[in-house]
C-alpha cells in the first residue's frame, strides 16, 4: 500500500523503485536536525538489535559473531559487581555477569516490543477509527463508548494485572500494552476520517457504486495513513516505556532480559547505591531509544500538520 503524502484525491500506485521510494520518504528529514539525530539513533539501535547475538547457519557451518562479548546470562564471567574495566567496559552484575552484553541483548527485546505492540495497536486503532467514522450511527456510538471505557482504565495497573494473570512472557506483555494503546489512534483517526467523509472524492466513489470496504480502505485510508504513521511512532515510544516500567516492577519476561528488567535486578540486588555502571546504561538506553522515536515523530508531525512547519 502506498504511503505517499496526503492528497485530497484518490491515488494510484506508482511503479517507482524501492530505493527511490525510500529516498522520497527520507526527504522530510532534510534540514531537520532533531529528526536526523532521531533517525541516526534509531538505526544504530536496530543494527545493534539485529546483530546482538551470534547467528549460526548450520548447513554452511558458519557462525556470524554477535556484538555482545559474552552470553548475557552466563554467570561469573567476571567478578561480582566489578566496576568498568577493559575486560568488562560496563562492569559486572552481582552475579558476575557482563553488563555490556546484557545491554546489547536487551536492545532486541525493546525492538520487538516496540515494533510489534505499536503495529498491533495502530492496526486496531486505525480500523476502529475508520469503521466508527465511516458508518457513524450506532456503530460509531458503540465503538466510541468502548474507547471511552478503555480511556477509563489506568494503563500500567491494567498491564500488571493482565500480565499477572496470563504470565510474564513477552507476548503477554505486548497483548497487555496493545489492549490499551489502540485508544488514542482510534480517536484521532476517527476525527480525521470524519472530515474526509465529507470530501467530494468519497461522494464520487459512492456514486459509482464502490463498496464500503473499497471506499474505506482504498480511498479514505491512504489519506489518513500519514497520521497513522505518526501515531505508530508515538505508540512505539509508549510501548517501550510501558515494557520498561512493567519489567522494572518485576513483571518482565524472565527469559528475555530487557533494559527495564536490568534495573529491576539492580534494585532486588540492593546495588543501586554503588553499581552506577549497572543502573545508568540501561536507563540511558531506554531514554535514547524513546527520544529518537519522539524526534522522528516530530518530523512526521510537521509533515502531517503543515501549520507546524514554520518552526
Amino acid at each position: 500500500m502506498s504511503t505517499e503524502r496526503t492528497s485530497p484525491t484518490d491515488r494510484t500506485e506508482t511503479d517507482g523503485g524501492t530505493l527511490e521510494f525510500i529516498r522520497s520518504k527520507l526527504e522530510i528529514f532534510e534540514g531537520d536536525r532533531l529528526g536526523q539525530i532521531g533517525l541516526g539513533i534509531l538505526c544504530s539501535f536496530i543494527l545493534i538489535g539485529i546483530f546482538a547475538r551470534p547467528y549460526t547457519i548450520d548447513f554452511l557451518n558458519l557462525t556470524i559473531p554477535g556484538l555482545a562479548p559474552h552470553d548475557p546470562a552466563e554467570r561469573a564471567v567476571g567478578g561480582r559487581l566489578e566496576s568498568p574495566s577493559g575486560a568488562h567496559p560496563l562492569g559486572t552484575t552481582h552475579m558476575g555477569r557482563d553488563v555490556l552484553s546484557q545491554l546489547i541483548a536487551g536492545t532486541r527485546v525493546t525492538l520487538i516490543v516496540g515494533s510489534l505492540a505499536a503495529f498491533m495497536a495502530v492496526f486496531i486503532g486505525t480500523n476502529v477509527g475508520l469503521i466508527s467514522a465511516y458508518f457513524g450511527g450506532w456503530v460509531d456510538d458503540v465503538l466510541m463508548r468502548i474507547t471511552d471505557i478503555v480511556y477509563g482504565v489506568p494503563f500500567l495497573p491494567f498491564a500488571i494485572v493482565l500480565v499477572a494473570i496470563l504470565g510474564s512472557s513477552i507476548v503477554n506483555i505486548i497483548v497487555a500494552i496493545v489492549l490499551i494503546l489502540w485508544r488514542s489512534t482510534a480517536r484521532v483517526i476517527r476525527a480525521q476520517v470524519l472530515s474526509h467523509k465529507q470530501r467530494p472524492y468519497v461522494e464520487s466513489a459512492q456514486a459509482i457504486g464502490a463498496s464500503h470496504t473499497r471506499i474505506m480502505y482504498r480511498h479514505i485510508l491512504p489519506n489518513v495513513l500519514p497520521l497513522t504513521f505518526l501515531y505508530a511512532a508515538f505508540a512505539v515510544a509508549w510501548a517501550v516505556i510501558a515494557e520498561a516500567s512493567l519489567s522494572f516492577l518485576g513483571f518482565g519476561d524472565p527469559n528475555m532480559l530487557s533494559w527495564g528488567e536490568m534495573i529491576y535486578n539492580v534494585y532486588t540486588a540492593n546495588a543501586i547505591r554503588e553499581a552506577w555502571w549497572w543502573v545508568f546504561p540501561p536507563g540511558i538506553c531506554i531514554m535514547l531509544f524513546v527520544m529518537s522515536v519522539f524526534f522522528i515523530g516530530r518530523t512526521l508531525e510537521k509533515e502531517v500538520n503543515p501549520e507546524l512547519q514554520h518552526q
Binding site: 477509563g152 494503563f155 499477572a164
Partner: protein, 326 residues
C-alpha cells in the same frame, strides 16, 4: 441541547462507564491464576476449615452470583477482606489512597503550572533559542520513564549530594496513622515528598508544555491577538490574559488523561521511593494473590480516571463560553 440535558447525559454515560469498568475488573480477577485459598492451607488449616473459609468468601458460588454480590458490596463501599493483612481492605487502602493522591496531586500540579507557563512562553517566543531548547528539554523529559527519572534524582540528590531522604514518607515511620494534619503537615514530610513529586512533575511536564505551545501558536495567529496588541495593552497582558487564557482550554481535556497516566505512574514512583501509597500496595497485592486488595486498588485508580474525565468535560463547558452541548 441545554446545559442541564448535557449534564444528565454525561452522568448516564459516567454510570455506564463505571459499570463496564467494574465488569472488566471482575472478569480480570476471576481469571487470576493461583488458588486464592492456597494461603489458608499454608496456615495449617484443615480441608474442612478451608472449605468453610471459601464459603465465607463466597468463592464457591456460581460466577454470576459472585458478580452480583461483589457489585452489591462495592455499592456499600465494602471491598472485602485482605487475604494477607486479614483486615478489611477499606481500612488498609484508605490511608494509602490519600498518600497517593497527595503525592500525585502535587506532581501534577507542578507539572501543569510549569508546563503551562513554559509552553506559553515557548509559543510566544517562537523560533527563539529558548523555544528550540525548550522543545528538546521537554522531549527528553517525555522520553524518560518515571522510574528512570526517579533513579537519576535519587542518585544525584540522595546518594551524591545527600540533601533528601531516600525513601518513605516520614523519618520516624508511622506513615499510615494519625489524622490528615499529623500525616502531611510537617517539614519532614515535605522533604520526603519533594523528590517523588519532582519525579512525577518531570515525567508529566511534556504533555502540557507541548500542547500549550502548539495551541499558543494557533491562538497567536488569531485576529484578536493583533487587536489586543493594537489596543496598547502590555505584552504581559496579551500573553497571559488573552493568548494563554485561550490556549489553556484544550489542556483541561488532557488533564484527565494525565491523571490516568499519573495513576499508573504512581505504581512506579511509589516503588522507586518506597512511598506507602496505593500503587505500591497494588503491586504487592498482585504478587501475593491478594485479590480483594488488588481489586480495590485497581478499582480506585480507575474511578479516579473516570471521574476526572467527567470533571474535565464539565469544566470545559464552563470555561469555554462557545462550547455547544453537542
Amino acid at each position: 441541547m441545554g446545559l442541564r440535558a448535557y449534564v444528565v447525559r454525561r452522568v448516564l454515560q459516567l454510570i455506564v462507564t463505571f459499570w463496564a469498568f467494574f465488569t472488566i475488573l471482575f472478569v480480570l480477577f476471576r481469571m487470576m491464576p493461583g488458588d486464592p485459598t492456597s494461603m489458608f492451607i499454608m496456615d495449617g488449616m484443615t480441608p474442612e476449615q478451608r472449605e468453610q473459609r471459601i464459603a465465607e468468601l463466597g468463592l464457591n458460588e456460581p460466577l454470576h452470583v459472585q458478580y452480583v454480590e461483589y457489585a452489591r458490596q462495592l455499592l456499600r463501599g465494602d471491598f472485602g477482606q485482605s487475604f494477607i493483612y486479614r483486615d478489611p481492605v477499606i481500612d488498609i487502602i484508605a490511608v494509602r489512597f490519600m498518600n497517593t493522591i497527595v503525592l500525585m496531586g502535587t506532581a501534577l500540579l507542578f507539572a501543569y503550572l510549569i508546563g503551562i507557563t513554559f509552553g506559553a512562553i515557548m509559543g510566544w517566543w517562537r523560533d527563539s533559542r529558548f523555544e528550540r531548547g525548550g522543545i528538546i528539554v521537554t522531549l527528553v523529559a517525555r522520553s524518560s520513564p518515571e522510574f528512570w527519572v526517579g533513579i537519576v534524582l535519587l542518585s544525584v540528590f540522595v546518594f551524591w549530594l545527600g540533601w533528601f531522604p531516600s525513601s518513605g514518607m516520614r523519618t520516624t515511620g508511622g506513615e499510615l496513622g494519625g489524622n490528615f494534619a499529623a500525616r502531611y503537615g510537617s517539614v519532614d514530610f515535605l522533604r520526603h515528598l519533594f523528590l517523588p513529586a519532582l519525579t512525577g512533575a518531570i515525567a508529566y511536564l511534556a504533555t502540557p508544555t507541548l500542547l500549550m505551545r502548539s495551541t499558543m501558536l494557533d491562538v497567536l495567529n488569531a485576529d484578536f491577538i493583533e487587536i489586543k496588541k493594537a489596543e496598547g495593552l502590555p505584552e504581559r497582558t496579551v500573553l497571559f490574559k488573552h493568548a494563554a487564557r485561550n490556549s489553556v482550554l484544550p489542556l483541561v481535556t488532557v488533564m484527565a488523561i494525565a491523571t490516568g497516566s499519573a495513576m499508573g505512574g504512581s505504581v512506579v514512583i511509589e516503588t522507586v521511593f518506597n512511598w506507602p501509597g496505593m500503587g505500591r500496595e497494588m503491586v504487592n497485592a498482585v504478587n501475593n494473590n491478594d485479590y480483594p486488595l488488588a481489586m480495590a486498588a485497581f478499582f480506585l485508580m480507575g474511578s479516579v480516571v473516570i471521574i476526572m474525565n467527567f470533571v474535565a468535560d464539565l469544566a470545559y463547558v464552563y470555561l469555554d463560553p462557545r462550547v455547544e452541548y453537542e
